[in-house]
Structure formats: C-alpha cells, structure tokens
C-alpha cells in the first residue's frame, strides 16, 4: 500500500532488496516496475541503463555526491529510513529536489510514522510507504498536523514572512 496524494493506492512498484548471500553485481533484477538499490544500479549499470521503468532507492546514509548525475532519468527515487530518528534522508530529499532538479516521484519508505509525514512532505517527498504494522489510513491525518510553516523548504520557496501579512491579532 502506498500513500499518494493523500490517498491509499496500490503500489505498482516492487522494491528490490538484497537478501543475505546476494550481491549487488549478481542479483537478478526482475522485470516490470522495480526500484533497485543504488549499489545494484552502480554494478549493473550497463544492463539497467536501457530500462525506462526503473526506480532507484537510496539508503538514508547515502549522500548526494554518491547519487548518479542524471537523477532525472528515474521515474521514482525512494529514500529508505532504517530508523525514523535518522534525519539524513530529509536533507537528501532537499538536495534532490532543490539542488539536483529531480522532479519525479520521491518516495519515503522504511521506518516512518504518521508523525513524520508533515515534515517529509515539506522536504519534497510525495509518496510514502509506512512500516507494515502501521495503519496507512489512520496515518493520513499526519499531513494535517500543521496548517502553516515558518520556513521555506521544498514545498514552499518562501518563508512565512514573504507569503502572508504578519502581525495581525484577532
């Protein structure tokens, strides 16, 4: 199940994860819409570069400088949060969107709670797969935790003081 545009939809993509004993250079990448980890993309680039319906996923610890130059070729890039308290993925998303010009689907997956959805959306994520034990329907409320924000980020290029007239008191 995937959260997209505030709805629960069926996920058309499968995520390739390396299991024990599998290596990035040898693992067989299945056909169809599949999201592969960065090491697999790097190792099997010659074969994979011809596939258009191929997504890339990044571990939270992977850095912008490790990412292929042409990120725009991927229809989906996912960031995997191995634990929700590791916030590197937020800056990674910011860089993909603001500095690397990535405009495709940006997916947050892994250890995600509804309590992070508001922040994740702000830094440019637009689809979300929650941990299997979390109810995605209940999680939707998380997007509405706040109705405004002080700072600029990916979702809005201007801080609040440039968006509204401040200083009014009811």
């Amino acid at each position: 199940m995937l959260i997209k545009n505030n709805e629960i939809v069926t996920d058309e993509w499968s995520v390739l994860r390396l299991h024990e004993g599998e290596t990035a250079d040898r693992v067989i990448v299945p056909g169809g819409k599949v999201i592969v980890p960065l090491p697999v993309w790097n190792c099997q680039y010659e074969v994979l570069q011809g596939r258009t319906e191929l997504g890339l996923w990044l571990a939270g610890f992977e850095r912008a400088e490790d990412i292929p130059d042409d990120v725009r070729r991927f229809p989906v890039i996912a960031v995997d949060f191995h634990k929700f308290s590791d916030g590197r993925g937020y800056t990674l998303a910011y860089r993909l969107r603001k500095q690397m010009g990535y405009q495709g689907e940006l997916r947050a997956m892994g250890d995600i709670l509804c309590d992070q959805l508001f922040y994740l959306k702000r830094v440019g994520f637009d689809t979300f797969t929650l941990r299997a034990d979390k109810d995605p329907h209940a999680a939707l409320a998380g997007f509405a935790d706040f109705s405004l924000s002080y700072q600029a980020s990916v979702d809005t290029d201007a801080p609040l003081f440039r968006r509204v007239t401040r200083g009014e008191i009811l």
């Binding site: 590197r88 800056t91 309590d115 702000r122 700072q151």
Partner: protein, 581 residues
C-alpha cells in the same frame, strides 16, 4: 516582548493537538515507548526517576508576568508546588503525570508559551544574555534576531532528527554572558565599519563528554543572511555529523574531524546555493519583530539616586544586597536586579508557586511586567528604577529572593542530578546543599568574592561544570558516586575549559576540598584579584599540591541519612507517581 500574531497562535495550538494525540496513542499502546520517546522529547518531556519531567520554554530567557503566573499555576495544578529554572533559561517541572502533559501545553498556549524543541536531537530553545536590551555594555539588542531564529528553527522540516541536540546562543554585548563559545553555534551581534549589523559566527563549541571551545567560522554575516547561513551550517551537520556513536555526534566532533577550514568551505558552498534567496530576511520582517523589543517608557532620572546611596551607607544588609544583586543599566536612574534563587536549604534554581507569583507581581510593580531567567538559574527584573530598590529589597526579602550571594560561591549552578535524573551518576542538589551549609558566613563569601561553582551530576554537563571556576562532576566508579574537581574554567570573555585537579573525591569530602581550594586562593591572591584570575596567574599546581597534601577527611554529618535526599523546601522524599511500572 514579542507578542504572537494569528500565525504563531495557530501553530502552537496545532502543536498542542498533535501532542495530545501522540499521548493518546502512547497510552493506548498504539505507539511503543521507543517511538513515543522521540516525540515527547520534542516537547520537552523526559521520563525521570520519580515521574515525568517537562521542560517549558522561555525563549532566550524572556517572559512576562502572565507567563510566570502560568508557571505558578502549572506548579500548583500538575506538580508539587514548585519548579526548577535551568541553565538553558527554561523551567522544568519534575513530578508530572504523562496524561497531564497535553493540558500543560494547552495552558501554556493561552499565554503565548510552549515547550517546543526544549529537548531532543533538534535545534533547541535559543539562549541569550539575561541583560539583553538593558546591558550597559550592549552594542546591539540581540532579542529580535533571537526571535527571528526561534521562528526559523521551530518545526524546521529538515532538522527535526539531527545527529544530536543543537544549541544556539546569541549575545549583543561586549562581555559574553550567553556563553556563545560553548554552544553549537554562537552568535555575536556586531556592527561593521559602515554601521551595518551582522553576526560573528562561532561553531563547534559545546560541553558534555568532550568540552570544546567554539571557533570562528565567519567574522561577519550580514543580518539579512543569518537564516540562510545558519541553515547551511545545520544542513552540512545533518548530512555529515556522526550517527554511529552518541558521544561523537555533536557538531564539535565533525568540525574537529574535518577541520574548521574544510567545514567552512562546505558551509560556504552550501550557502552559495541559497544565499540571496527568499529566506533572506526583509527589513519589514525585522522591523515587525523588533517592534516587540522597543524600550519601555523610561522616566528621565538622575544617574544616581541620592536616597538609595544614603541607605547603602547606613544599612549594611541593603548595601550587601545592592553590591551583589543590582546590575548596571544603560538608562540613567535604572538598574537591573537579580532575584536570587539560591536560598539556603533550597535546591539551586528552584522556586515555589508562591515565589513565581511574587516574582510576577514584582515584575508588574517595578519592571514593566517582564522578567528574565538567567543561565545562572536566577531571575532578573531588567528595568527597575533605582528609587524603587529599597522597596524591592524588602519585597525580595519577604519572598526569599534577597540572598546577597549573586556571583558568590553559594550562587551554585546545579543540575537536578541523581535526586531526579536518570542520566546522573551522582547527586548534585544534595551536594550543593552541603557546600551551601559549609559556607554560610556572608562576610567570608564576600571576602572570597566572585566565583562560579558548577555542579553537574554526569558528563552531559547540564550545570556547565567545565566552565565553572570550580567545576564538580559526578562520576560513577563501580556503582558508587564520586566527584571529579576541575579548576580554571570560564564561561565567556574568554571561555576556558577547566583542568581536572586529580583523583576524585567522595560526596562527604567535597566541602573540605572546596575549602582547601579557597585557602590557597586567599594565601596567593593579590589585593582584589578574583579567584579565577589567581588561578590563571599561578596555574592549578599550587592548588593541586595543597588539596592532595594530606588526606581529606569526610564530613561525618554528610554521611547521615539526612543527606540522602533534600528535605527542606522541596519535598523530594516520597515519589507519588512513578511511570516506571
């Protein structure tokens, strides 16, 4: 002070609702403690030895009388009738029930206050000079910039899950009273040759396990660019700060590892991408915020009040209090007054609900309705007419605020320690009490003069022991509490990390150890030389030699059960609610 507009109100209200739902999900079991922990910490809620503790924000240490009365209300309604003011210029309540904490936030919201980011691995509540706006040595009032940074850092979407806590401190004065050199980012508001306001930016300072003095990363960032510059620093830190070891996760470790020049290069590169963008601060926004910090309606008064000077001549007790508690003010005829929260028999920084109400009342009567919390855990009335000092002194005495020990040995900076805190290795409040009882002669204290004594119960250094002239740190040796003593630390202008004098001491030895240190000072000092200056001049060796020359006897009194827990003032003895079921 800055007043909330509709947007500030709405955001804080939404935070209360969000947190209320998180507590509901925790109590229903929907959220596991591991998941909830991070969420509650973002609202200042800790699970301590006896109960939940909640740290409420007083941004940059400033609050009004209404907010202080709300603290009193919270103390009465949800706690045991008192609270603890902290070195981060906030207030903590120690005896809370988890299910009450959303109501506390809701109560706070009614007075434009919150507990946002007072804990957790995020940008913490910003600290500043407790005399901001009134200090005689101030160049620029830092408060508008502190508020600007408060708003920028509040719920910053990228920086809620940093490698570790992130502390920013800001000063606009010549003397650094905000300890900017020992914060993750230290900001000094300055003017360049053309009169433009900007910031000297320090980075990578911090205490804790590895004390480091911050280094200058930029000598002058114009005020319009401060948000993008600070954002660039935090972005580099978020990406590259270590996450594999909690003890090496602060920005100071990153800066040390790659060097300030490489760190600066990375920050500059990042800054080049967002500088001059929309996050550049507009004059209109600065003006809007600064309008909350305009000078109050001061009366035109003579520089000195003759009646007050006469009373100082005739009344020694008043003179002692003035000497310690009354601070210079930039406006003629006014003073800033420190209300001591270091009364004998009370935990340093503690105030009862009645004292909070009284402080609010005094603020309204004598100081335009505003107060400050100092990092030394006292309260400050910043705008008092000198002619009101005698009346204020009487009121301060009646409410336990007039101990004439500000800046002296018994103005101890002290964390909650082992009496409350799950992190502590040793007790600090109880030790502060023991020291306070040993040195109860005000004439002796006056003779010893200015000295910072800081007591932390563990390496997290909440009481900033590294920068105490005498620093005491609780350490654990095979499950027993011991105390390491350091000498020569200083919190600012310039900041220094103290040197450890040698092997550690038992609880009951510490008062005698402090006494020996003072004896060396009295023996070695030049006339009027402060303790810290003597230490700087002669080094720690003469102190070490004397302290360890003969065995230090334990004070028998301190081995009695009476010293197991503080009894007076703060009823810490029987936990009435423990979340640790």
């Amino acid at each position: 002070m800055y007043r909330y507009d509709n947007f500030d109100h709405r955001l804080v209200a939404e935070r209360v609702a969000q947190y209320r739902d998180q507590v509901r999900r925790r109590l229903s079991g929907e959220l596991k403690e591991d998941e909830f922990r991070v969420l509650r910490l973002h609202n200042g809620v800790y699970m301590q030895i006896h109960a939940y503790m909640m740290r409420l924000a007083a941004p940059y240490g400033l609050l009004n009388a209404t907010q202080m009365r709300m603290f009193a209300h919270i103390a009465r309604k949800y706690d045991r009738g008192y609270g603890h003011f902290t070195t981060r210029q906030n207030i903590q309540f120690n005896w809370l029930k988890l299910q009450d904490t959303p109501d506390i936030l809701a109560d706070l919201a009614t007075v434009e206050a919150h507990a946002i980011q007072t804990s957790g691995s995020c940008i913490r509540s910003i600290t500043s000079d407790e005399f901001a706006g009134v200090a005689h040595d101030e160049i620029i009032d830092p408060r508008p910039y502190a508020e600007l940074l408060r708003q920028w850092s509040t719920f910053h979407p990228e920086f809620a899950f940093l490698p570790r806590k992130f502390k920013i401190s800001i000063t606009g004065a010549t003397e650094d009273r905000a300890a900017i050199e020992v914060n993750d980012i230290g900001l000094q508001v300055v003017q360049d040759a053309q009169g433009e306001v900007g910031f000297r930016v320090l980075v990578g300072g911090g205490l804790g396990r590895t004390p480091v003095i911050g280094v200058e990363i930029n000598a002058f960032v114009p005020w319009r660019h401060i948000l993008t510059y600070v954002e660039s620093i935090v972005r580099v830190y978020n990406e590259f700060g270590r996450r594999d070891n909690l003890y090496k996760a602060r920005i100071k470790i990153l800066v040390k590892a790659i060097g300030i020049d490489e760190f600066r290069r990375q920050v500059e590169e990042e800054w080049s991408l967002n500088k001059d963008g929309n996050s550049t601060v507009t004059q209109a926004e600065l003006d809007r915020i600064a309008a909350g910090f305009t000078a109050p309606a001061y009366a035109a008064l003579p520089q000195q009040d003759a009646m007050v000077l006469a009373l100082q001549q005739s009344n020694k007790a008043f003179a002692n209090w003035v000497k310690r508690s009354v601070k210079p003010h930039k406006v003629a005829g006014y003073s800033a007054v420190v209300l001591s929260l270091k009364q004998s028999g009370f935990a340093p920084g503690d105030a009862t609900a009645e004292q909070m109400d009284a402080a609010a009342e005094l603020a309204e009567r004598y100081s335009f309705g505003e107060l400050r919390i100092s990092h030394t855990q006292n309260l400050v009335l910043a705008d008092v007419k000198q002619a009101d000092l005698p009346a204020l002194w009487e009121a301060a005495k009646a409410n336990g605020f007039a101990t004439p020990n500000i800046g002296l040995l018994t103005d101890i900076i002290c964390c909650p320690g082992g009496d409350f805190c799950t992190l502590a290795n040793a007790r600090s409040i109880t030790l502060a009490r023991a020291v306070d009882e040993r040195f109860d002669d005000i004439d002796y204290l006056q003779d010893i003069g200015e000295i910072d004594l800081n007591i932390s119960g563990c390496v997290n250094a909440c009481a900033h022991h590294h920068v105490g002239h005498i620093g005491i740190l609780g350490v654990d040796k095979q499950g027993e509490e011991w105390y390491q003593v350091s000498l020569g630390g200083s919190k600012g202008s310039p900041a220094n990390v103290g040197k450890i004098i040698g092997r550690s001491f038992s609880f009951a030895q510490i008062p005698a150890v402090v006494e020996r240190l003072l004896q060396v000072y009295v023996r070695e000092r030049y006339e009027d030389e402060r303790f810290i200056d003597t230490v700087r001049r002669i080094g720690i060796e003469p102190f070490v030699e004397y302290v360890y020359a003969t065995p230090v006897a334990e004070d028998e009194k301190l081995l009695t059960p009476d010293y197991d827990l503080i009894k007076k003032g703060a009823p810490y003895d029987t936990p009435y609610y423990s979340p640790r079921f």
